[in-house]
Protein backbone atom coordinates (compact mmCIF):
# COMPACT_ATOMS: atom_id res chain seq x y z
CA UNK A 1 0.00 0.00 0.00
CA UNK A 2 1.54 3.31 1.03
CA UNK A 3 5.33 3.11 1.32
CA UNK A 4 7.55 5.65 3.04
CA UNK A 5 10.04 7.24 0.66
CA UNK A 6 11.55 10.48 1.73
CA UNK A 7 13.35 12.42 -0.96
CA UNK A 8 15.65 15.08 0.29
CA UNK A 9 15.20 18.17 -1.78
CA UNK A 10 16.01 21.71 -0.81
CA UNK A 11 12.84 23.64 -1.40
CA UNK A 12 13.16 26.97 0.33
CA UNK A 13 16.61 28.48 -0.17
CA UNK A 14 18.92 27.58 2.67
CA UNK A 15 16.29 25.91 4.83
CA UNK A 16 16.62 22.23 3.96
CA UNK A 17 13.21 20.56 4.03
CA UNK A 18 12.20 17.08 2.98
CA UNK A 19 9.53 16.34 0.44
CA UNK A 20 7.53 13.19 0.80
CA UNK A 21 6.15 11.04 -1.97
CA UNK A 22 2.58 10.11 -1.22
CA UNK A 23 0.51 7.72 -3.28
CA UNK A 24 -3.14 8.42 -3.86
CA UNK A 25 -3.29 4.84 -4.93
CA UNK A 26 -5.33 3.13 -7.59
CA UNK A 27 -7.91 2.35 -4.96
CA UNK A 28 -9.07 5.55 -3.35
CA UNK A 29 -12.52 6.87 -2.57
CA UNK A 30 -12.23 10.10 -4.45
CA UNK A 31 -10.17 9.45 -7.55
CA UNK A 32 -13.29 8.55 -9.51
CA UNK A 33 -11.96 5.24 -10.68
CA UNK A 34 -8.62 3.48 -10.86
CA UNK A 35 -6.26 6.39 -11.16
CA UNK A 36 -2.93 6.54 -9.42
CA UNK A 37 -1.71 9.98 -8.46
CA UNK A 38 1.84 10.21 -7.27
CA UNK A 39 2.07 13.31 -5.12
CA UNK A 40 5.31 14.96 -4.16
CA UNK A 41 4.33 16.94 -1.09
CA UNK A 42 6.09 19.29 1.23
CA UNK A 43 4.02 18.96 4.39
CA UNK A 44 0.57 19.62 3.00
CA UNK A 45 1.62 21.67 -0.03
CA UNK A 46 1.83 19.84 -3.33
CA UNK A 47 5.07 20.25 -5.21
CA UNK A 48 4.25 17.94 -8.11
CA UNK A 49 1.52 15.57 -9.25
CA UNK A 50 2.30 12.69 -11.59
CA UNK A 51 -0.80 10.85 -12.83
CA UNK A 52 -0.38 7.19 -13.73
CA UNK A 53 -3.15 5.85 -15.91
CA UNK A 54 -3.72 2.64 -17.81
CA UNK A 55 -5.34 0.59 -15.07
CA UNK A 56 -8.56 0.38 -17.04
CA UNK A 57 -7.02 -0.05 -20.50
CA UNK A 58 -9.19 -2.51 -22.35
CA UNK A 59 -7.62 -2.27 -25.82
CA UNK A 60 -10.69 -0.71 -27.42
CA UNK A 61 -8.81 0.41 -30.51
CA UNK A 62 -7.36 -3.01 -31.19
CA UNK A 63 -10.76 -4.63 -30.70
CA UNK A 64 -12.33 -2.21 -33.15
CA UNK A 65 -9.93 -3.37 -35.84
CA UNK A 66 -10.81 -7.01 -35.23
CA UNK A 67 -14.57 -6.53 -35.53
CA UNK A 68 -16.17 -7.87 -38.67
CA UNK A 69 -18.16 -4.73 -39.34
CA UNK A 70 -18.62 -1.17 -38.20
CA UNK A 71 -21.87 -1.80 -36.33
CA UNK A 72 -20.20 -4.25 -33.98
CA UNK A 73 -17.97 -1.50 -32.65
CA UNK A 74 -20.89 0.45 -31.19
CA UNK A 75 -21.22 -1.57 -27.92
CA UNK A 76 -17.48 -1.11 -27.38
CA UNK A 77 -17.81 2.59 -27.85
CA UNK A 78 -20.55 2.64 -25.20
CA UNK A 79 -18.19 1.27 -22.64
CA UNK A 80 -15.59 3.98 -22.99
CA UNK A 81 -17.37 6.71 -21.08
CA UNK A 82 -19.81 4.48 -19.25
CA UNK A 83 -21.43 7.38 -17.46
CA UNK A 84 -22.62 9.13 -20.63
CA UNK A 85 -22.85 6.37 -23.18
CA UNK A 86 -25.25 8.04 -25.63
CA UNK A 87 -22.67 10.72 -26.37
CA UNK A 88 -20.05 8.15 -27.31
CA UNK A 89 -22.36 6.28 -29.67
CA UNK A 90 -23.45 9.54 -31.24
CA UNK A 91 -19.91 10.65 -32.00
CA UNK A 92 -18.90 7.34 -33.54
CA UNK A 93 -22.05 6.92 -35.60
CA UNK A 94 -21.89 10.48 -36.88
CA UNK A 95 -18.27 9.93 -37.91
CA UNK A 96 -19.13 6.80 -39.88
CA UNK A 97 -22.17 8.47 -41.45
CA UNK A 98 -19.97 11.37 -42.50
CA UNK A 99 -17.51 8.99 -44.07
CA UNK A 100 -20.23 7.16 -45.94
CA UNK A 101 -22.23 10.24 -46.79
CA UNK A 102 -25.50 8.91 -45.31
CA UNK A 103 -28.38 11.34 -44.74
CA UNK A 104 -30.59 10.34 -41.84
CA UNK A 105 -34.26 11.32 -41.59
CA UNK A 106 -35.23 14.34 -39.49
CA UNK A 107 -37.01 12.31 -36.86
CA UNK A 108 -33.85 10.35 -36.17
CA UNK A 109 -31.88 13.56 -35.76
CA UNK A 110 -34.37 15.06 -33.33
CA UNK A 111 -34.52 11.91 -31.23
CA UNK A 112 -30.72 11.77 -31.18
CA UNK A 113 -30.65 15.35 -29.91
CA UNK A 114 -33.15 14.56 -27.16
CA UNK A 115 -31.19 11.52 -26.06
CA UNK A 116 -27.88 13.36 -26.12
CA UNK A 117 -29.23 16.23 -24.04
CA UNK A 118 -30.89 13.90 -21.53
CA UNK A 119 -27.57 12.12 -21.25
CA UNK A 120 -25.84 15.43 -20.69
CA UNK A 121 -28.13 16.21 -17.77
CA UNK A 122 -27.63 12.74 -16.30
CA UNK A 123 -23.86 12.98 -16.60
CA UNK A 124 -23.68 16.43 -15.05
CA UNK A 125 -25.90 15.28 -12.19
CA UNK A 126 -23.40 12.56 -11.45
CA UNK A 127 -20.49 14.98 -11.71
CA UNK A 128 -22.12 17.44 -9.32
CA UNK A 129 -23.24 14.78 -6.88
CA UNK A 130 -19.86 13.10 -6.61
CA UNK A 131 -18.15 16.47 -6.38
CA UNK A 132 -20.19 17.31 -3.30
CA UNK A 133 -19.45 13.86 -1.91
CA UNK A 134 -15.71 14.42 -2.29
CA UNK A 135 -15.98 17.61 -0.31
CA UNK A 136 -17.99 16.06 2.50
CA UNK A 137 -21.53 17.03 1.52
CA UNK A 138 -23.27 13.69 1.63
CA UNK A 139 -26.82 14.72 0.85
CA UNK A 140 -26.76 16.40 -2.60
CA UNK A 141 -25.22 13.20 -3.98
CA UNK A 142 -28.40 11.24 -3.28
CA UNK A 143 -30.69 13.99 -4.45
CA UNK A 144 -28.79 14.14 -7.76
CA UNK A 145 -29.05 10.40 -8.14
CA UNK A 146 -32.76 10.51 -7.50
CA UNK A 147 -33.11 12.80 -10.52
CA UNK A 148 -30.70 10.70 -12.55
CA UNK A 149 -32.88 7.66 -11.91
CA UNK A 150 -35.77 9.39 -13.64
CA UNK A 151 -33.64 9.93 -16.74
CA UNK A 152 -32.40 6.35 -16.69
CA UNK A 153 -36.04 5.24 -16.49
CA UNK A 154 -36.70 7.18 -19.68
CA UNK A 155 -33.80 5.41 -21.37
CA UNK A 156 -34.98 2.07 -20.12
CA UNK A 157 -38.45 2.32 -21.59
CA UNK A 158 -36.94 3.33 -24.93
CA UNK A 159 -34.18 0.81 -25.47
CA UNK A 160 -34.28 -1.51 -22.50
CA UNK A 161 -30.96 -0.55 -20.97
CA UNK A 162 -30.13 1.90 -18.19
CA UNK A 163 -26.46 2.55 -18.65
CA UNK A 164 -25.02 1.04 -21.85
CA UNK A 165 -27.49 1.31 -24.65
CA UNK A 166 -26.39 0.23 -28.14
CA UNK A 167 -29.22 2.50 -29.22
CA UNK A 168 -27.81 4.85 -31.85
CA UNK A 169 -27.08 2.80 -34.96
CA UNK A 170 -25.39 3.73 -38.20
CA UNK A 171 -28.12 5.34 -40.27
CA UNK A 172 -30.80 5.41 -37.58
CA UNK A 173 -31.81 4.10 -34.20
CA UNK A 174 -32.51 0.67 -32.81
CA UNK A 175 -36.00 1.48 -31.48
CA UNK A 176 -38.46 4.26 -31.96
CA UNK A 177 -39.78 6.19 -28.96
CA UNK A 178 -42.52 4.29 -27.10
CA UNK A 179 -45.91 5.85 -26.55
CA UNK A 180 -45.44 6.66 -22.86
CA UNK A 181 -42.16 8.49 -23.48
CA UNK A 182 -43.88 11.85 -24.00
CA UNK A 183 -45.79 11.73 -20.74
CA UNK A 184 -42.78 10.75 -18.67
CA UNK A 185 -40.61 13.32 -20.38
CA UNK A 186 -43.08 16.07 -19.62
CA UNK A 187 -43.23 15.04 -15.96
CA UNK A 188 -39.47 15.12 -15.77
CA UNK A 189 -39.28 18.54 -17.41
CA UNK A 190 -41.74 19.84 -14.85
CA UNK A 191 -40.08 18.48 -11.69
CA UNK A 192 -36.43 18.90 -12.61
CA UNK A 193 -36.09 22.70 -12.24
CA UNK A 194 -37.41 22.43 -8.68
CA UNK A 195 -34.95 19.69 -7.77
CA UNK A 196 -32.15 21.70 -9.33
CA UNK A 197 -33.08 24.67 -7.18
CA UNK A 198 -32.95 22.49 -4.05
CA UNK A 199 -29.52 21.21 -4.98
CA UNK A 200 -28.34 24.75 -5.69
CA UNK A 201 -29.57 25.98 -2.32
CA UNK A 202 -27.76 23.19 -0.55
CA UNK A 203 -24.49 23.13 -2.40
CA UNK A 204 -23.76 25.78 -5.02
CA UNK A 205 -24.15 28.90 -2.92
CA UNK A 206 -23.12 27.34 0.38
CA UNK A 207 -20.38 29.42 2.01
CA UNK A 208 -18.31 26.41 2.99
CA UNK A 209 -18.50 24.95 -0.51
CA UNK A 210 -17.46 28.27 -2.02
CA UNK A 211 -14.53 28.49 0.39
CA UNK A 212 -13.41 25.04 -0.71
CA UNK A 213 -13.66 25.65 -4.45
CA UNK A 214 -13.19 29.35 -5.22
CA UNK A 215 -9.69 30.43 -6.28
CA UNK A 216 -8.60 26.78 -6.34
CA UNK A 217 -7.09 25.17 -9.42
CA UNK A 218 -7.16 28.28 -11.57
CA UNK A 219 -6.77 27.40 -15.25
CA UNK A 220 -5.99 30.42 -17.46
CA UNK A 221 -7.65 30.44 -20.87
CA UNK A 222 -4.49 30.29 -22.98
CA UNK A 223 -3.11 27.38 -20.96
CA UNK A 224 -6.41 25.58 -21.40
CA UNK A 225 -6.32 26.01 -25.18
CA UNK A 226 -2.69 24.95 -25.41
CA UNK A 227 -3.35 21.82 -23.37
CA UNK A 228 -6.33 20.99 -25.58
CA UNK A 229 -8.94 21.17 -22.83
CA UNK A 230 -12.53 21.16 -23.90
CA UNK A 231 -16.03 21.17 -22.51
CA UNK A 232 -16.75 22.70 -19.11
CA UNK A 233 -13.01 22.93 -18.38
CA UNK A 234 -12.52 25.29 -21.29
CA UNK A 235 -15.75 27.20 -20.79
CA UNK A 236 -15.05 27.57 -17.09
CA UNK A 237 -11.93 29.50 -18.02
CA UNK A 238 -13.95 32.04 -19.93
CA UNK A 239 -13.59 30.73 -23.50
CA UNK A 240 -16.99 30.76 -25.21
CA UNK A 241 -16.57 27.68 -27.37
CA UNK A 242 -19.15 24.95 -27.71
CA UNK A 243 -19.21 22.50 -30.63
CA UNK A 244 -22.99 22.61 -30.70
CA UNK A 245 -22.79 26.25 -31.70
CA UNK A 246 -19.39 26.58 -33.39
CA UNK A 247 -19.55 23.44 -35.56
CA UNK A 248 -23.22 22.47 -35.41
CA UNK A 249 -24.04 18.86 -36.06
CA UNK A 250 -27.44 17.13 -36.16
CA UNK A 251 -30.12 19.85 -35.88
CA UNK A 252 -28.56 21.96 -33.11
CA UNK A 253 -28.66 25.05 -35.28
CA UNK A 254 -32.46 25.11 -35.02
CA UNK A 255 -32.58 25.55 -31.26
CA UNK A 256 -32.13 28.58 -29.10
CA UNK A 257 -29.88 28.05 -26.16
CA UNK A 258 -27.09 29.82 -24.37
CA UNK A 259 -23.50 28.81 -23.72
CA UNK A 260 -22.65 29.34 -20.04
CA UNK A 261 -19.13 30.60 -19.48
CA UNK A 262 -17.15 31.00 -16.30
CA UNK A 263 -17.03 34.60 -15.12
CA UNK A 264 -15.12 34.41 -11.89
CA UNK A 265 -18.18 35.30 -9.84
CA UNK A 266 -16.93 33.82 -6.61
CA UNK A 267 -13.22 34.07 -7.17
CA UNK A 268 -10.92 33.99 -10.19
CA UNK A 269 -12.05 33.10 -13.70
CA UNK A 270 -11.22 29.47 -14.30
CA UNK A 271 -11.33 28.17 -10.74
CA UNK A 272 -13.14 25.05 -9.60
CA UNK A 273 -16.32 26.90 -8.70
CA UNK A 274 -16.58 28.30 -12.22
CA UNK A 275 -16.26 24.87 -13.81
CA UNK A 276 -18.82 23.48 -11.39
CA UNK A 277 -21.25 26.32 -12.03
CA UNK A 278 -20.87 25.95 -15.81
CA UNK A 279 -22.07 22.37 -15.40
CA UNK A 280 -25.06 23.45 -13.32
CA UNK A 281 -26.10 26.03 -15.88
CA UNK A 282 -25.53 23.66 -18.78
CA UNK A 283 -28.19 21.44 -17.28
CA UNK A 284 -30.68 24.30 -17.44
CA UNK A 285 -29.77 24.95 -21.07
CA UNK A 286 -30.17 21.28 -21.93
CA UNK A 287 -33.68 21.42 -20.51
CA UNK A 288 -34.51 24.21 -22.95
CA UNK A 289 -33.13 22.23 -25.87
CA UNK A 290 -35.15 19.14 -24.92
CA UNK A 291 -38.36 21.15 -24.68
CA UNK A 292 -37.82 22.72 -28.08
CA UNK A 293 -36.82 19.42 -29.67
CA UNK A 294 -39.87 17.64 -28.29
CA UNK A 295 -42.19 20.30 -29.71
CA UNK A 296 -40.58 20.21 -33.13
CA UNK A 297 -40.33 16.41 -33.35
CA UNK A 298 -41.52 15.30 -36.81
CA UNK A 299 -42.99 11.87 -37.56
CA UNK A 300 -41.05 9.36 -39.56
CA UNK A 301 -39.39 5.98 -39.66
CA UNK A 302 -36.22 5.53 -37.67
CA UNK A 303 -35.08 2.47 -39.58
CA UNK A 304 -35.42 3.73 -43.11
CA UNK A 305 -31.87 4.93 -43.68
CA UNK A 306 -30.01 2.06 -42.05
CA UNK A 307 -27.84 0.55 -44.78
CA UNK A 308 -27.83 -3.20 -45.36
CA UNK A 309 -24.09 -3.32 -45.65
CA UNK A 310 -21.87 -0.76 -44.01
CA UNK A 311 -18.92 -0.49 -46.31
CA UNK A 312 -17.45 2.99 -46.33
CA UNK A 313 -15.30 4.12 -49.26
CA UNK A 314 -11.57 4.43 -48.77
CA UNK A 315 -10.83 7.51 -46.76
CA UNK A 316 -10.64 8.85 -43.30
CA UNK A 317 -12.65 11.20 -41.14
CA UNK A 318 -12.19 13.05 -37.89
CA UNK A 319 -15.51 14.00 -36.38
CA UNK A 320 -16.01 15.58 -33.01
CA UNK A 321 -19.09 16.17 -30.86
CA UNK A 322 -19.76 17.91 -27.60
CA UNK A 323 -19.79 15.21 -24.96
CA UNK A 324 -20.72 16.22 -21.39
CA UNK A 325 -17.03 16.03 -20.51
CA UNK A 326 -15.70 17.83 -23.52
CA UNK A 327 -14.88 17.22 -27.13
CA UNK A 328 -15.10 13.57 -28.07
CA UNK A 329 -13.51 12.92 -31.42
CA UNK A 330 -13.31 9.79 -33.54
CA UNK A 331 -10.64 9.41 -36.19
CA UNK A 332 -11.68 6.54 -38.44
CA UNK A 333 -9.62 5.25 -41.35
CA UNK A 334 -11.33 2.89 -43.75
CA UNK A 335 -9.47 1.04 -46.49
CA UNK A 336 -12.43 0.65 -48.78
CA UNK A 337 -12.30 -3.08 -49.48
CA UNK A 338 -12.96 -4.72 -46.10
CA UNK A 339 -16.01 -4.16 -43.94
CA UNK A 340 -14.09 -3.77 -40.72
CA UNK A 341 -12.41 -0.53 -39.71
CA UNK A 342 -8.74 -0.10 -40.51
CA UNK A 343 -8.05 2.23 -37.59
CA UNK A 344 -10.36 3.77 -35.00
CA UNK A 345 -8.83 6.31 -32.73
CA UNK A 346 -10.95 7.77 -29.95
CA UNK A 347 -9.86 11.17 -28.78
CA UNK A 348 -11.32 11.11 -25.31
CA UNK A 349 -11.96 14.42 -23.53
CA UNK A 350 -11.02 13.11 -20.10
CA UNK A 351 -7.65 11.89 -21.41
CA UNK A 352 -6.70 15.37 -22.54
CA UNK A 353 -8.30 17.17 -19.61
CA UNK A 354 -6.42 15.02 -17.13
CA UNK A 355 -3.06 16.01 -18.62
CA UNK A 356 -3.56 19.55 -17.34
CA UNK A 357 -3.84 18.37 -13.73
CA UNK A 358 -0.14 18.73 -12.81
CA UNK A 359 -0.16 22.26 -14.18
CA UNK A 360 -3.09 23.55 -12.17
CA UNK A 361 -2.46 21.82 -8.85
CA UNK A 362 1.06 23.00 -8.00
CA UNK A 363 1.17 24.94 -4.78
CA UNK A 364 -2.20 23.86 -3.41
CA UNK A 365 -2.92 21.49 -0.55
CA UNK A 366 -3.87 17.83 -0.71
CA UNK A 367 -7.46 18.63 0.22
CA UNK A 368 -7.52 21.05 -2.71
CA UNK A 369 -6.29 18.34 -5.04
CA UNK A 370 -9.44 16.39 -4.31
CA UNK A 371 -11.48 19.46 -5.22
CA UNK A 372 -9.48 20.06 -8.41
CA UNK A 373 -9.71 16.45 -9.54
CA UNK A 374 -13.45 16.48 -8.96
CA UNK A 375 -13.85 19.59 -11.06
CA UNK A 376 -11.95 18.06 -14.00
CA UNK A 377 -14.66 15.37 -14.00
CA UNK A 378 -12.87 12.38 -15.48
CA UNK A 379 -14.19 8.95 -16.21
CA UNK A 380 -11.42 6.39 -16.26
CA UNK A 381 -13.08 4.34 -18.95
CA UNK A 382 -12.48 7.22 -21.34
CA UNK A 383 -9.00 8.05 -20.13
CA UNK A 384 -7.72 4.53 -20.62
CA UNK A 385 -10.14 3.18 -23.22
Amino acid sequence: MATFEITTRSVKGDLKTDTMILNMGPQHPSTHGVLRLELVVDGEIIVDVIPHIGYLHRCFEKHAEQMTNYQQVIPYVDRMDYVAAMGNELAYVLAVERLMGIEVPERVQYIRVIMAELQRIASHLLAIGTYGLDLGAFTPFLWCFREREKILDLFEITCGARLLYNYIWIGGLSHDLPSEFGKKLKEFLKTFPKALKEINDLLTFNKIFIDRTANIGVLPADVAINYGCSGPMLRGSGVKFDLRKNEPYLVYDRFEFDIPVGEGKMGTVGDCWDRYYVRVREMEESLKIIEQAWEQLPPGDVHSAIPKKVRPPQGEVYFRTENPRGELGFYIISDGHTSSPFRVKARAPSFVNLSVLPEISKGYMIADLVAILGSVDIVLGEVDR
Binding site: H57, Y227, F241, Q314, F351
Partner: protein
Protein backbone atom coordinates in the same frame (compact mmCIF):
# COMPACT_ATOMS: atom_id res chain seq x y z
CA UNK B 1 -9.54 29.85 -44.83
CA UNK B 2 -9.70 26.87 -47.10
CA UNK B 3 -7.18 24.04 -47.07
CA UNK B 4 -5.75 25.16 -50.41
CA UNK B 5 -4.92 28.60 -49.13
CA UNK B 6 -3.31 27.18 -46.02
CA UNK B 7 -1.28 24.86 -48.20
CA UNK B 8 -0.12 27.77 -50.34
CA UNK B 9 1.06 29.63 -47.25
CA UNK B 10 3.00 26.62 -46.01
CA UNK B 11 4.45 25.96 -49.44
CA UNK B 12 5.74 29.47 -49.67
CA UNK B 13 7.96 28.92 -46.66
CA UNK B 14 8.66 25.19 -46.46
CA UNK B 15 8.72 24.07 -50.10
CA UNK B 16 11.33 21.40 -49.41
CA UNK B 17 9.55 19.81 -46.47
CA UNK B 18 6.40 18.88 -48.35
CA UNK B 19 5.90 15.35 -49.56
CA UNK B 20 2.35 15.43 -50.92
CA UNK B 21 -0.85 17.48 -50.74
CA UNK B 22 -4.11 15.71 -51.47
CA UNK B 23 -6.92 18.21 -51.97
CA UNK B 24 -9.53 15.67 -53.01
CA UNK B 25 -9.15 13.10 -50.25
CA UNK B 26 -12.24 11.64 -48.56
CA UNK B 27 -13.41 13.46 -46.31
CA UNK B 28 -11.09 16.43 -45.99
CA UNK B 29 -7.78 17.30 -47.69
CA UNK B 30 -4.49 16.61 -45.97
CA UNK B 31 -0.86 17.56 -46.30
CA UNK B 32 1.97 15.12 -45.86
CA UNK B 33 5.30 16.50 -44.68
CA UNK B 34 8.73 15.14 -43.87
CA UNK B 35 9.09 13.77 -40.31
CA UNK B 36 12.14 15.88 -39.41
CA UNK B 37 10.51 19.20 -40.35
CA UNK B 38 7.23 18.76 -38.55
CA UNK B 39 8.11 20.89 -35.55
CA UNK B 40 9.06 23.96 -37.58
CA UNK B 41 5.93 23.72 -39.68
CA UNK B 42 3.76 23.39 -36.58
CA UNK B 43 5.41 26.39 -34.95
CA UNK B 44 4.76 28.37 -38.12
CA UNK B 45 1.14 27.22 -38.16
CA UNK B 46 0.66 28.27 -34.57
CA UNK B 47 2.45 31.59 -34.66
CA UNK B 48 1.38 32.98 -38.06
CA UNK B 49 -1.48 35.41 -37.25
CA UNK B 50 -3.58 34.53 -40.30
CA UNK B 51 -3.43 30.81 -39.55
CA UNK B 52 -3.34 30.82 -35.70
CA UNK B 53 -3.68 27.07 -35.19
CA UNK B 54 -3.63 27.15 -31.42
CA UNK B 55 -5.60 23.98 -30.70
CA UNK B 56 -4.37 20.48 -31.44
CA UNK B 57 -7.54 18.46 -31.71
CA UNK B 58 -5.99 15.03 -32.04
CA UNK B 59 -2.64 13.35 -32.68
CA UNK B 60 -2.93 9.72 -33.73
CA UNK B 61 -0.47 7.05 -34.59
CA UNK B 62 -1.30 4.78 -37.54
CA UNK B 63 0.17 1.56 -38.84
CA UNK B 64 -0.35 1.52 -42.61
CA UNK B 65 0.59 -2.12 -42.85
CA UNK B 66 3.40 -2.42 -45.31
CA UNK B 67 6.23 -1.43 -43.01
CA UNK B 68 5.10 2.19 -42.68
CA UNK B 69 4.02 3.93 -39.55
CA UNK B 70 2.46 7.35 -39.52
CA UNK B 71 1.34 10.20 -37.33
CA UNK B 72 -1.72 12.30 -38.15
CA UNK B 73 -2.22 15.77 -36.70
CA UNK B 74 -5.65 17.41 -36.67
CA UNK B 75 -5.35 21.12 -36.05
CA UNK B 76 -7.97 23.76 -35.32
CA UNK B 77 -7.87 27.49 -34.93
CA UNK B 78 -10.07 29.00 -32.23
CA UNK B 79 -9.80 32.44 -33.72
CA UNK B 80 -10.49 31.73 -37.39
CA UNK B 81 -12.45 28.49 -36.99
CA UNK B 82 -10.64 26.58 -39.70
CA UNK B 83 -9.21 23.07 -39.58
CA UNK B 84 -6.22 21.40 -41.14
CA UNK B 85 -4.78 17.89 -41.31
CA UNK B 86 -1.05 17.13 -41.33
CA UNK B 87 0.41 13.72 -41.92
CA UNK B 88 3.82 12.20 -41.44
CA UNK B 89 5.02 8.79 -42.61
CA UNK B 90 8.04 6.89 -41.31
CA UNK B 91 9.35 3.40 -41.79
CA UNK B 92 9.32 0.74 -39.10
CA UNK B 93 13.12 0.48 -39.05
CA UNK B 94 13.59 4.15 -38.21
CA UNK B 95 10.37 5.48 -36.67
CA UNK B 96 11.66 8.86 -35.54
CA UNK B 97 9.45 11.97 -35.71
CA UNK B 98 10.07 15.39 -34.25
CA UNK B 99 7.99 16.05 -31.18
CA UNK B 100 5.54 18.96 -31.19
CA UNK B 101 5.20 18.97 -27.41
CA UNK B 102 6.81 22.37 -27.16
CA UNK B 103 4.26 23.78 -29.61
CA UNK B 104 1.07 22.37 -28.08
CA UNK B 105 1.26 20.89 -24.61
CA UNK B 106 -1.67 18.57 -25.35
CA UNK B 107 0.70 16.61 -27.59
CA UNK B 108 2.55 15.41 -24.50
CA UNK B 109 0.19 12.59 -23.61
CA UNK B 110 -0.92 11.94 -27.20
CA UNK B 111 2.70 11.33 -28.23
CA UNK B 112 3.29 9.08 -25.25
CA UNK B 113 0.29 7.04 -26.33
CA UNK B 114 1.54 6.84 -29.93
CA UNK B 115 4.90 5.67 -28.64
CA UNK B 116 3.24 3.14 -26.33
CA UNK B 117 0.98 1.69 -28.99
CA UNK B 118 3.13 1.93 -32.13
CA UNK B 119 6.71 2.45 -31.07
CA UNK B 120 7.12 5.81 -32.80
CA UNK B 121 9.99 7.67 -31.18
CA UNK B 122 9.33 11.38 -30.73
CA UNK B 123 12.55 13.30 -30.72
CA UNK B 124 12.62 16.08 -28.19
CA UNK B 125 9.80 14.81 -26.01
CA UNK B 126 10.69 15.50 -22.37
CA UNK B 127 9.27 12.32 -20.88
CA UNK B 128 8.71 9.59 -23.46
CA UNK B 129 7.55 6.52 -21.57
CA UNK B 130 4.63 4.15 -21.66
CA UNK B 131 1.32 5.56 -20.61
CA UNK B 132 -1.39 2.93 -21.02
CA UNK B 133 0.40 -0.40 -20.92
CA UNK B 134 1.72 -1.74 -17.58
CA UNK B 135 5.15 -0.79 -16.30
CA UNK B 136 6.64 -4.19 -17.08
CA UNK B 137 5.36 -4.59 -20.64
CA UNK B 138 8.37 -5.72 -22.67
CA UNK B 139 10.32 -3.22 -24.70
CA UNK B 140 9.81 -3.63 -28.42
CA UNK B 141 6.28 -4.96 -28.12
CA UNK B 142 3.82 -2.40 -29.45
CA UNK B 143 0.21 -3.56 -29.30
CA UNK B 144 -1.52 -1.59 -32.04
CA UNK B 145 0.86 -2.61 -34.82
CA UNK B 146 -0.65 -4.87 -37.44
CA UNK B 147 1.97 -7.59 -36.91
CA UNK B 148 1.54 -7.66 -33.14
CA UNK B 149 1.44 -11.17 -31.70
CA UNK B 150 -0.38 -11.58 -28.40
CA UNK B 151 2.24 -12.92 -25.98
CA UNK B 152 1.80 -16.50 -24.78
CA UNK B 153 2.53 -15.77 -21.16
CA UNK B 154 2.45 -12.56 -19.16
CA UNK B 155 3.96 -12.69 -15.68
CA UNK B 156 3.47 -16.43 -15.60
CA UNK B 157 -0.22 -16.31 -16.60
CA UNK B 158 -1.32 -17.92 -19.85
CA UNK B 159 -2.80 -15.23 -22.08
CA UNK B 160 -5.03 -16.74 -24.82
CA UNK B 161 -7.71 -18.93 -23.33
Amino acid sequence: MQANEIFEKIKSKFEDAIVEFKPDAVVEPYLEVKPDRVKEICEFLRDEPELAFDYLMCLSGVDYGNGTLGVVYHLYSMKHSHRFVLKVKVSVENPVVQSVESVWKSANWHEREAYDMFGIIFEGHPDLRRILMPYDWPEGSYPLRKDFQVPEFYNGMKVPY
